[in-house]
Amino acid sequence: MDLLANLALGFQAALSPANIGFVFIGAVVGTIFGAFPGLSAPTAIALLLPLTFALDPTSAVIMLAGIYYGSQYGNSISAVLLGIPGDSAAVVTAIEGHKMTEQGRGGHALTIAATSSFTAGIIGVMIFAAAGPPLAWFGLRFGDAEYAAVILLAFCMLPAFATEGRIKMVVAVVLGLMLATIGLDYATARPRFTFNQTFLLDGVPFVAAIIGLFGIGDVLYNAGIGGIASRISTTIRLRELVPPARAWRPLGAPMLRSSVLGFFIGVLPGAGATIASFAAYAMERAIARDKTTFGQGRAEGLVAGEAGNSGASIGAMLPMIALGIPGSGATAVMLGGFLIWGLEPGPTLFERDPVFVWGLIASMLIGNVMLLAMNVLLVPAFTWVLKVPYAVLAPLIVVFCAAGTYAVNNSFADVWIMMAFGALGYLLRLMNVPLAPLVLGLVLGPAFESHLRRALQISDQGLLTFVTRPLSASILALAAILVVAPLVVARYRARHRATDPTPAPR
């Protein structure tokens, strides 16, 4: 009954005309940014973050969340029509969906993709609503030692889930942690690494850093792509969008399974929508009787990829809201927004500001309904938007980034910091160093340091306090397993390959 009462409270907030408008804006912007290869949800969130300071925090987070899960719908559009995934989470969609387009079933693929995302969104929100309060209750039992251990666990998960470039991921996290130490020490107010510059006393301006990394660096790295306008030759008519009834029958079970799997993978920091989509695809392939048609335009494969990545986008928000630990790069950027709005995400948010939390949950239900309708009925419009050349988009984003960054503090210093992070973001992209771990380090660094130091301050056991407290000891043990296990597995595989006498197949 509590759940229904809370949802009713949430709908009361979310169904205001203003908030419905913000859901719509977030959904449209997210879909467009998701559809464009090279643009992403973190870029869109970073770009719109300065505008949210004039908004009520509930409206602001509703819009930003709409961008995030909207982008998972949008990334299927270019994946299906062009075979170019909007981001890495849509690779599976590109494999199966574009094959369906080549077979003349592009409209069906788009509708199936949108329906899969919708199903995963609704299931994800329901699990979120049910699991959020218990997780927050559990989080209230955390002391400083447990919080420090959980944040360390989040950092350890990042390289554990990486399929390659683990060292680069570690470098990104550590760089973020180091940048987070710039400014006044929280306990002693001693300036650290400020080079006597007053604008650094409050630390690296978060909005400027995020906009620089994702807006300037990421966008300019992709400037060499040029336009994709000429590649869009497929015209999809509205009447070609709906598959026949018999096509839907085998898709129900994969949709449900992949949605749930995607959600729980998304909860894990560092796992993300990409891993969720591949894991769901692998699961459906393993279950299917006829595996040979996967990769040839198999609708179940398309469903798995889309439901997986959309479920993960909702799942990533659960630890952010309930524990204050973001589950992905986009939620890390959103978390920064929380701190700027003066909100402290975590277990007490459910009690202190239930309208905010349940308003967000209710808005995600509304947003998913809107996105299903938009992505089915407005495909011709989104296809037209995709024809905008990148040479027009890139400078537009640069100008909006500069204006947004300046508007935060009316400071030119912030704009130059944005450009410095833009150059850093470009360099990191060049070296294939992921940006999300750096943002995670930058956002969680201050919290990690304060919990760590307070835990050591309170206890007279020093570092032993982390292992004598059962909860933090368990969390640290899990973190240690995540660090050691990939190394052991890699060593075992290398040894097995070296000693296996079986010749490689021709």
Binding site: F53, I167, A391, P395, F400, A402, A403, M431
Partner: protein, 151 residues
């Protein structure tokens, strides 16, 4: 289309991180590691700097094997865009954001994008108009006026 030895760049970046991390570590000792039995201001940067130096060294080791590999990348175009963005920000100090943004949009769309002038003019007019409406009218945030400050 150019090509870039990204492995070599990664090696150099890793090599730069080592002295940077060590500098942070030594600086944090001066800030104070432990004071009166509790972690001081330099405690966390000490470990962060050490971790950065170690991970930088590992990055050099891992990317050394790929230092000769070349990847196709249109880096002249990318660096030109990056340089143009820097010039735009510099020009904002004197011309103000709206005027420098207008010029930046027209020039980059025409020269770097190779699109017709009218596309640049239309995009710049709509974009600067939208910026003015959103920031100056709606959010009441004054954008840098530059030359027009005295008017």
């Amino acid at each position: 289309m150019g090509s870039v030895r990204t492995g070599l760049i990664t090696c150099l970046f890793g090599a730069l991180l080592v002295p940077l991390g060590l500098a942070v570590t030594f600086e944090s000792i001066e800030l104070g590691y432990i004071r009166y039995g509790v972690p001081a201001a330099g405690f966390f940067p000490f470990w962060a700097g050490l971790a950065l130096a170690i991970s930088g060294a590992l990055l050099v080791l891992v990317s050394w094997r790929e230092r000769r590999a070349r990847h196709d990348l249109d880096w002249p175009v990318q660096l030109t865009w990056l340089a143009a963005a820097f010039v735009f920000v510099l020009a904002t100090h004197w011309l103000g954001l709206l005027l420098s943004g207008f010029v930046f949009l027209v020039l980059t769309i025409r020269v770097l994008g190779g699109l017709p002038v009218w596309v640049g003019l239309l995009t710049a007019t709509l974009a600067c108009g939208l910026l003015w409406l959103v920031f100056e009218v709606w959010l009441l945030v004054p954008l840098p006026p530059g030359l027009f400050e005295s008017l």
